[in-house]
Symmetry: C2
Subunit: 275 residues, 2 copies
């Protein structure tokens, strides 16, 4: 998928919502545990109930790997289900990978070719040759951690290097890498006041923004400082939507939560772009 | 496994060699491709041929994930094979994971509980709450990236923060985390001159050292600066051992390469500890 196609989908749906798929067998509705593949059934129901309100889905690989081979099968079924039924949807493997060059090539093959995701999240610590193998895939997107939504972001990401915070250096350096036009960045919603500075460095890039909902970030603040003239944001919500109810009405309740976020996004898009 | 047990194995085998299992279908001997699970058969043959010379095996998860569900099955068979037949071996899931707390907990569950590895590699960028969920597992080991063996290490890891390089800050900060006694660190063999400084910060920790062999690092230099009075090193070699031959003699040739490294290690241990 191209960023232009993603942009068009955002305008059409009046939404830049990404739904995080973090399926946890201890949290999903108990009646699903009787099915053959509870994780896939859970994801499928959430996707069916929200696909017209969201532009992206972000399966978090940890929540599949924790169940071993069965989990990996659920992950494959989930991505296949989205690609076959909702090809307009932008898919994100939230995997936070990154290793030396020949290893990163194998991860890129895993997520872009074998599973056929549109994008994958990566960590920057190992530098250029750990990220460029992902960037080599055209019309696939590499979403690099910049400033994350968690408390630990302050341990290293905001340390001062060369007179600026590390995450700013990470953003600047990454722009010099080969095929850097295929980069997007993770910036946490819990740090909305940082978005203005980030936009000075990467004005045109899409930002994947976790931290709305359970983590407490504010959508309006994020948009105020982070939105660009192509919207340029994918705001993720996971727990607040997918675990809105533990009953048989979980998909319906998930839709209500997603609809509430989408309505807020529609207002913001309408006011900002005067559609 | 405790670090004491690992130390005893090192003294007994006169080896601190870890064999990296990076199985690539384009590189393994062609005659194996006719078997039902070429990746597992390859790993099994390498393990059978080298287990008395090595103290650890380090499957690199990328090389399994690249083959999807089949790859994950091969990974599970490989770790089960080691645990069932060679329980003295220290096992490392080279996965470079790390995410917000509840997600890192799922990764820890995946590698420590579901797959039953002794250790897993993690990336530090997301800070304390991304690593502590791994550290909560007693007698399991969390091997955090400090200074990696690749060229990209110089992009961020060696930047100056607070008057010291970032990787030193990472080491220092990590010592303050809960259960930090369960930490080990990745330090690349290609940067042997850095080991003396690193040992000032983490004198007692085990260091996992990639970069010997195909990447060009020197074993004697690493030992000169990096060894502590409990040895404290796990030196990894992957490609130079596992791809020593592409013929039907690949396991035999792998053994020859491993033996050559082990002999060098034996000399170093004997001279350093005057056994």
């Amino acid at each position: 998928m191209t960023t232009q196609q993603l942009h068009e989908q955002i305008l059409q749906k009046k939404s830049f919502l990404c739904v995080g798929l973090d399926p946890d067998l201890t949290k999903i509705p108990p009646h699903l545990l009787e099915t053959e593949d509870p994780i896939f059934e859970f994801n499928k129901a959430i996707i069916d109930a929200t696909h017209d309100l969201a532009v992206g889905y972000k399966p978090n690989t940890a929540f599949f790997e924790a169940y071993g081979i069965k989990g990996w099968i659920s992950l494959q079924k989930t991505i296949n289900y989205i690609n076959e039924n909702f090809p307009e949807i932008f898919t994100i493997a939230d995997a936070k990978r990154g290793d030396i060059g020949n290893t990163s090539s194998m991860y890129a093959k895993a997520f872009f070719e074998d599973l056929n995701f549109d994008s994958v999240t990566v960590a920057p610590y190992m530098g250029k040759d750990s990220v460029e193998p992902f960037l080599a895939f055209e019309n696939k997107h590499t979403i690099m951690l910049a400033l994350t939504s968690n408390e630990g972001a302050f341990d290293f990401q905001t340390l001062n290097v060369n007179g600026k915070e590390l995450y700013k250096q990470v953003l600047e350096t990454s722009k010099t890498w080969k095929n850097s036009h295929n980069l997007m960045y993770v910036v946490g919603a819990t740090k909305a006041e940082y978005f203005a500075d980030i936009r000075k460095i990467v004005p045109d890039s899409f930002l994947l923004v976790p931290g709305i909902g359970a983590q407490g970030g504010s959508l309006s603040e994020v948009c105020k400082y982070g939105m660009n003239d192509k919207v340029g944001l994918l705001v993720n919500s996971a727990r607040a939507i997918i675990y809105a109810s533990k009953g048989t009405d979980f998909a319906e309740k998930a839709r209500e939560e997603a609809l509430s976020v989408q309505k807020e996004m529609e207002e913001i898009i309408n006011s900002k772009f005067q559609v």
